[in-house]
Structure formats: structure tokens, C-alpha cells
């Protein structure tokens, strides 16, 4: 049987190259930030903030400014709001996320009704549209993802220390408060980066599933980070290829690929 390699031709298209670049960077940032969220037991933070980004997107569309930029601002305000409520003892993590998440979605809803109906474009933000990413959005995604990755790489050992034991980290002179604020802002930027790839609704999958898959392997910290990033990128690339070959929704296939990897690795760990 002759191997049909015609599908490889897709790599020659500009739109697919853009999608590969944006998807890979977003997946890497998502998986790395997400691993920290899992270890800090804040897995749902990403989901909560992503839902508030919906309000930001709607605001951007209404005002005629970049929806991703508007989402970035609203997400940063939300994530800091959640951190503030926790710190001041107004709510624990779960409850604070629930409040902010509802607020963000309500904001979006009010704006949509003010704008006089459901905007078709909004749909592409809810479920992602990496294959039609504009060069302006790609540039924003690439810059934010690279800033996120650079921060995580630079403060690798400090974040590892804080994630393990915040009090002990504080005693060694690490500025834990400032680093936490910076990390929370990264959560927001990462979500905005991923909205184009996978959409608001499914962003948690790209943040949490690769890290969870990596944790199954019981590796060192360094290798767990590398494995999480690897699984995230692999799932995204698989999703891109399959979705363009069969004309189905990219984000749906990315999630299936990510969860498929998780199940495979978890089963392998238990059977092998």
C-alpha cells in the first residue's frame, strides 16, 4: 500500500503555519502554568478567569477595540480580585472563583444585550478558531506566550520553592507576595493566549490535562515540567492536523487528544 503523504501539503499553507506557531506557544505556556495550578490546588482558577474573559471579549467587541486586549485587562482584574478576596478572608479559593466567574459572565451577557444581540464573532472566542487567527492576534498571542515562558524560566527555582512551601520560601527571602501577584497575572495572560486556540469554555483542558498527564509519570520536578509542556504541544498539534484533515472543530479534537494521552499514560503506569 502506497503511503499517501498528500496531507503533508497543508504545512505549506500560511494559515496552517500561523496556527502551528500560535498553537505550540499557547500550549506550552498553558501546560507550564497549569502544572503550577494543579500543584497549588487551584485547578479551577483557570476556568474561572477564562469565563470572566468572556465579559472582556464582549466589552472589546462593543467598544470596537481588540477583544483579546480587553479580555486581558478584565482577566487580570479578575485574577487579582480572586487573590484579594482570599487574602482578606472574604472567601476561600473555590467561593472566590465562583463569584468572579459569575460576575464576568454576567458582564458579557449585559453587554451582548446592550449591543442588541449575539455577535457571531463571539462564538469563535467561546470555542477557539486557531485556523483563522489573524496576524495581529498571532503577534499578541506569540508575545504574551513568550513573556509567560520567559518569566517561568527565569523564576523556575523560586516558583518551585513557593509551590512546595510558601512560608519556607518567604523565610529564605523570596519576595513571595510580589511573585504571587506576578504568577496570577501570568494565569490571566495565558488564558488570553489560549482563547484563540481552544476557546474560553475548553481552556481548562489545555491548562490542566497535560500537567495531570505528566504527574502520572512520577518524575522529578524538572522532567514533570518538560513532560507537561510536551503533552500539551503534542495534543495541540494532533488536534490541528486531525481537525484540518477532517474539517472538524480544532478545540474539540485538541481536548480529545489531551484526554486520550492522559488515559493512555495513566493506564500504562498501572499496567506496566
Amino acid at each position: 500500500m502506497a503511503l499517501d503523504l498528500a496531507w503533508l501539503g497543508i504545512f505549506g499553507y500560511r494559515f496552517f503555519q500561523n496556527a502551528l506557531l500560535g498553537g505550540t506557544l499557547a500550549a506550552a505556556a498553558c501546560a507550564w502554568v497549569g502544572l503550577f495550578l494543579i500543584l497549588r490546588r487551584e485547578s479551577m482558577l483557570g476556568d474561572g478567569v477564562a469565563h470572566t474573559a468572556f465579559g472582556g471579549i464582549a466589552l472589546g467587541l462593543l467598544l470596537g477595540i481588540s477583544p483579546l486586549l480587553a479580555a486581558l485587562v478584565v482577566s487580570i482584574v479578575s485574577v487579582l480580585g480572586i487573590a484579594y478576596m482570599r487574602k482578606k478572608g472574604i472567601a476561600n479559593s473555590d467561593a472566590a472563583i465562583a463569584v468572579i466567574m459569575a460576575m464576568g459572565f454576567a458582564l458579557g451577557l449585559i453587554i451582548i444585550s446592550l449591543a442588541g444581540g449575539f455577535n457571531v464573532e463571539l462564538f469563535s472566542y467561546l470555542f477557539g478558531s486557531i485556523l483563522t487567527i489573524s496576524s495581529g492576534d498571532l503577534a499578541l498571542v506569540a508575545v504574551l506566550a513568550l513573556v509567560t515562558l520567559a518569566f517561568l524560566g527565569t523564576f523556575y527555582k523560586e516558583l518551585m520553592s513557593m509551590t512546595f512551601d510558601e512560608d519556607a520560601a518567604r523565610m529564605t527571602g523570596i519576595p513571595v507576595g510580589a511573585m504571587s501577584v506576578a504568577f496570577n497575572i501570568l494565569v490571566a495572560t495565558t488564558i488570553v493566549v489560549s482563547i484563540k486556540v481552544i476557546g474560553i469554555i475548553l481552556v481548562t483542558a489545555l491548562m490542566i490535562v497535560p500537567g495531570l498527564t505528566a504527574l502520572q509519570l512520577r518524575l522529578s520536578f524538572r522532567r514533570t515540567v518538560a513532560a507537561a509542556v510536551g503533552f500539551g504541544v503534542l495534543a495541540t498539534l494532533t488536534g490541528l492536523l486531525i481537525s484540518s484533515a477532517y474539517g472538524v472543530a480544532t478545540s474539540g479534537v485538541v481536548v480529545f487528544a489531551a484526554v486520550g494521552l492522559l488515559l493512555f499514560v495513566a493506564a500504562y503506569r498501572r499496567l506496566a
Binding site: 500543584l39 527565569t154 523564576f155 527555582k157 523560586e158 518551585m160 520553592s161 512546595f164 512551601d165 512560608d167 519556607a168 520560601a169 523565610m171 529564605t172 527571602g173 523570596i174 519576595p175 505528566a214 504527574l215 512520577r218 518524575l219 522529578s220 520536578f221 524538572r222 522532567r223 514533570t224
Partner: protein
């Protein structure tokens, strides 16, 4: 290892510390000299951990003065000379992805190298301290896979890898069998002697304290301090702390030649 000629590393004078509305530590006054091996004992809830946290600046004392290395604690800024292992250190999530070597390396992370990679010198110190606490065989293992005694030694290695002169340990008691505990005290004795490290440890093991240590601080609200010398008779000190009916049988020969002065 009492050496009368040495300057005190810690001086506490008239220290009162409250938790909420309760005065937990009353009028603590004592000195710890360089190279001493000091046990803090006392009944549960007596204020041992409170005293330690007050000294470390985590709890704010109501009154009194603390001097670290001759400097008033309020202006003391050489915290790299002091290390602390908390009671809860070993109660971490067993699935946390970190090896012993990574864990010990966190001891080299701090303000001085913020945002920079650990250098060859840092890793050399990490490996030396892994060897010092006899953790070579498990260096590549994940911390969650270790036994209780091994975990204890990992946290001591992490505390010591920064090169402190004064080590505070709030002894974790859960899940460590007496033999392993005894080996741990022996190891601390050894570090105290070999490195001239001043060790202050909250302990529930009275035999270990009276056999191995040079000074005992007994905390039960009020704070009593005794040097432990040959022929030291602890009954009165212990009755003050634990009550009239407390009996502690303490035979010097059980120290098996490991008495700190021997």
C-alpha cells in the same frame, strides 16, 4: 559542647509571647552560646513552638528583647546565618513531583540569587549535604517515596545547605520509630561537634535530651533553663513543667557512652 569563652548566638531577656488573648510564654530569659546543643522540652501546649516562632520573628512578642549574634532582633538582617525546620515540614503532599536533590537545592534559593540559575558551587554544596546526611542512595528518588526518618534528614540537609551557624528544629514526632529517631539525634550530635553548629531542637524525647544535649530549656508557660552536666538531676525541673506526679527514670548508663560530655 559548651565553651565558656564563646559569645552568645542568642540572648533572650524577659520575653512574653501571647497567642490571641492567652499569654503562652512568660518571662523567658536565657542565653545560647556558639556550639551548644540545646533541647526545648515541655508539655503539649506549653509554648515550645510559640517560643521558637517568637525568636524567629514569626510571632511578635508582647515584651522583652531578643538578640541574634549580638544584634537586636528588630534590626537583625543576617537570616542566612539561621535555619529553621518546622514541625509540619514532613507533612507534605506525597505526590509532589520533586527529588531529594531538587528539594535540598531549594535551600540554596533565596534573595541573593533571585532569578538566576544555581551555579556549580551551589550544586556542589547540595551534593555535599546529601552525603553529610547519608542520603546518597535516595538522592534521585522522589521525596514522597521516602521513609519518615529520611524525610527528616532531607529537611535538615535543605536547612544546612545554606551554611547557617544556628539551626532551629521543631521536631516532627509522627511516624518515626524510636531507633530511627535515636539515629537522627546522633547525627545532629555529630553535626554539632564536627561543624561547630549550634543546634536548638524542640523534642519530646527526654532521654535523648538528657543524654546528648548540653542545655535544656523547659517551657510550660514559665521558662526554666538548666545546663546538663555530669550528675545532673532533672526531677525537679520536670516536676515544675509536667506536674507533681510526673516520673522520668533517667539512667546515665542508658546513654550507652554517647553522653554529650563523654
Amino acid at each position: 559542647m559548651t565553651d565558656e569563652g564563646n559569645a552568645p548566638v542568642l540572648e533572650v531577656e524577659g520575653l512574653d509571647i501571647s497567642r490571641g488573648n492567652d499569654l503562652v510564654v512568660k518571662g523567658a530569659s536565657f542565653k545560647i552560646l556558639k556550639g551548644e546543643y540545646v533541647g526545648i522540652i515541655g508539655p503539649n501546649g506549653g509554648g515550645k513552638t510559640t517560643l521558637l516562632l517568637g525568636i524567629l520573628g514569626t510571632l511578635k512578642p508582647d515584651r522583652g528583647t531578643i538578640k541574634m549574634f549580638g544584634k537586636d532582633a528588630s534590626s537583625f538582617d543576617e537570616w542566612e546565618r539561621v535555619a529553621y525546620v518546622s514541625q509540619n515540614a514532613v507533612n507534605f503532599d506525597a505526590t509532589f513531583p520533586m527529588t531529594v536533590r531538587e528539594m535540598v537545592s531549594l535551600g540554596r534559593v533565596g534573595r541573593r540569587n533571585l532569578g538566576r540559575k544555581l551555579g556549580a558551587e551551589d550544586w556542589k554544596a547540595v551534593d555535599e549535604h546529601i552525603a553529610l546526611l547519608e542520603l546518597e542512595d535516595v538522592a534521585g528518588k522522589r521525596i514522597g517515596e521516602l521513609s519518615g526518618g529520611q524525610k527528616q534528614r532531607v529537611f535538615v540537609a535543605k536547612a544546612l545547605v545554606r551554611g547557617p551557624e544556628l539551626l532551629f528544629l521543631d521536631e516532627p514526632i509522627a511516624g518515626v520509630d524510636p531507633k530511627v529517631q535515636e539515629a537522627f539525634y546522633k547525627k545532629l550530635s555529630d553535626l554539632n561537634t564536627r561543624l561547630g553548629l549550634t543546634v536548638v531542637i524542640v523534642s519530646h524525647d527526654l532521654t535523648a535530651v538528657f543524654c546528648r544535649m548540653s542545655k535544656v530549656i523547659c517551657v510550660s508557660g514559665e521558662v526554666n533553663v538548666s545546663e546538663i552536666t555530669e550528675g545532673f538531676e532533672p526531677s525537679e525541673l520536670l516536676r515544675k513543667a509536667y506536674g507533681e506526679h510526673f516520673h522520668f527514670v533517667y539512667h546515665r548508663h542508658e546513654c550507652a557512652g554517647d553522653f554529650h560530655g563523654a
